[in-house]
């Protein structure tokens, strides 16, 4: 069957078997390898992408079920060459260790901050409870998400707020 899925804004039309999973459509058909797949049983959360704006485990959705729908993957977080604050947070606070769970963590964290811009540590831990980090690096992941929340709360730095450079 032929399916068309809009991935990060571009329509991807491919001939697929009905049993092809969305995660494999994204990786093999759309050629976007940022979405990882791990446990294959909906437990680990590394395959999380957004389907119509909501995080889902793409190893448990058939590509056929996403036909005509919108998917956003980790490659779609960066906008116009600017990293998403959540991506920056993971860099600043060492939220990556081996990095395998990172794409799913980023997608879930971005959705959390969209719904709740000022989450408590408990709320962050609850939101990522379906995401397993095999390095057990949760402390820094939680810090990374908080970093992003704080950066977004402080807003973009305007010209008048920039430190005045000393002139000779």
């Amino acid at each position: 069957m032929q399916v068309t899925i809009t991935v990060n804004g571009s329509a991807e039309t491919h001939e697929v078997e009905p049993r092809l999973l969305l995660v494999h459509f994204i990786r093999e058909k759309a050629g976007l390898r940022g979405t990882h797949w791990g446990c294959d049983t909906s437990n680990c959360g590394t395959c999380v992408v957004w389907l119509d704006g909501k995080p889902v485990k793409s190893c448990t959705v058939f590509a056929a079920m996403a036909d005509g729908h919108e998917v956003r993957t980790v490659e779609g977080l960066e906008q116009g060459g600017q990293l998403d604050p959540v991506q920056e947070g993971f860099m600043e606070c060492h939220g990556l260790q081996c990095g395998f769970c990172t794409p799913g963590m980023l997608m879930t964290a971005r959705a959390l901050l969209d719904a709740n811009p000022d989450p408590s540590e408990h709320e962050i831990r609850e939101a990522i409870s379906g995401q397993l980090c095999r390095c057990t690096g949760y402390e820094n992941i939680v810090r990374s998400v908080r970093w992003a929340a704080e950066k977004e709360a402080s807003g973009p730095v305007t010209e008048s707020e920039k430190p005045v450079e000393a002139t000779a």
Binding site: P18, V48, T60, V61, F62, D67, T108, G130
Partner: protein, 292 residues
């Protein structure tokens, strides 16, 4: 990579169309909504349907939560996350929020559905016990029309329901009665796991006397996920801790847990008693307005 066996995929555009497709495709076709129980089973080849009928496009018909007269109505295609967020469901039956907080994990709850949980008929499924506790009615629709089946008669065994192959679960109806409270208590090994055991309670008080009670149990081999002997013993009794503990003991005596990787029989029976007692205590506190 785990790959399901091949199947034919059809997308339903209306409830009528879904029923028509199920009729055409025969008894080896399955309905897929969230798919979070079915698809892992298909990957493991524990389920091998010939065809899938995707009902995800029927949200407008099947995805609503509303009050209709004296009933709270929950559409079969309601996502777990939406039931967790629903103010109207939480206001009338806080048990739904208690349970939804501990069903799978937040990402799974975005796609998994209420109807899918009930129709999967997993013996350790949470919502079956919840809907048994509040004594809900399931509305089924087939080619011949609509029929209503009490949730306590919906399941006829593990992974088996009374639904005909060409019938679709449309919605769940729960009668709203004044003076009630409800709660759900679950013990799980880790986030997202099925229960080791869980107990749900709905209670109605007439002053300090229990005028009505519903008790649901999951993962402990309770027939129809319910504990009717404990309910019968509770009605007419004072709403005290002693009565709740007695009801918990009766519920535990009348269930039939099996030993597995989640624990031995004695532990599960102990949990059945304790969680029933706690759920009743919390439901009663809510009925008295002592806990939101």
């Amino acid at each position: 990579m785990q790959v399901p066996a091949p199947f034919t995929y059809e997308r339903a555009t209306s409830v009528e169309h879904a029923i028509e497709l199920l009729g055409q495709l025969g008894p080896e076709a399955r309905v897929v909504a969230g798919g979070h129980s079915l698809i892992p089973m298909m990957k493991l080849r524990l389920a091998r349907p010939d065809a899938l009928v995707d009902i995800n496009a029927l949200g407008a018909e099947l995805g609503q939560i509303r009050v209709d007269g004296t009933d709270l109505v929950i559409g079969a295609l309601t996502r777990h996350a939406d039931l967790l967020r629903s103010a109207v469901a939480g206001e009338h039956f806080p048990i739904f929020h208690d349970a939804e907080k501990v069903i799978a994990d937040p990402v799974v709850r975005n796609f998994g559905t209420v109807g899918g949980s009930l129709c999967q008929a997993d013996p350790a499924e949470d919502l079956s016990a919840v809907f048994a506790a509040v004594d809900a009615v399931a509305v089924l629709r087939g080619p011949g029309g609509v029929r209503q089946v009490p949730v306590r008669e919906l399941h006829i065994g593990p992974y088996e329901t009374v639904l005909a192959p060409d019938e679709l679960l449309i919605e769940l109806r729960v009668r709203i009665r004044p003076g009630g409270g409800s709660a759900y208590e679950k013990v799980e090994r880790r986030v997202g796991d099925y229960a080791v055991a869980a107990g749900g309670a709905a209670i109605w008080l007439d002053g300090d006397t229990v005028s009505g009670a519903g008790i649901g149990l999951t993962a402990v081999g309770a027939e129809h996920f319910a504990a009717p002997e404990a309910e019968a013993a509770l009605v007419g009794q004072p709403a005290t801790d002693e009565s709740f503990r007695a009801a918990g003991r009766i519920a535990a005596d009348n269930c039939n847990p099996t030993a597995d990787q989640r624990g031995p029989v004695d532990y599960k029976r102990h949990l059945a008693a304790e969680l029933t007692t706690r759920a009743l205590r919390r439901a009663a506190a809510r009925a008295r307005g002592q806990e939101a």
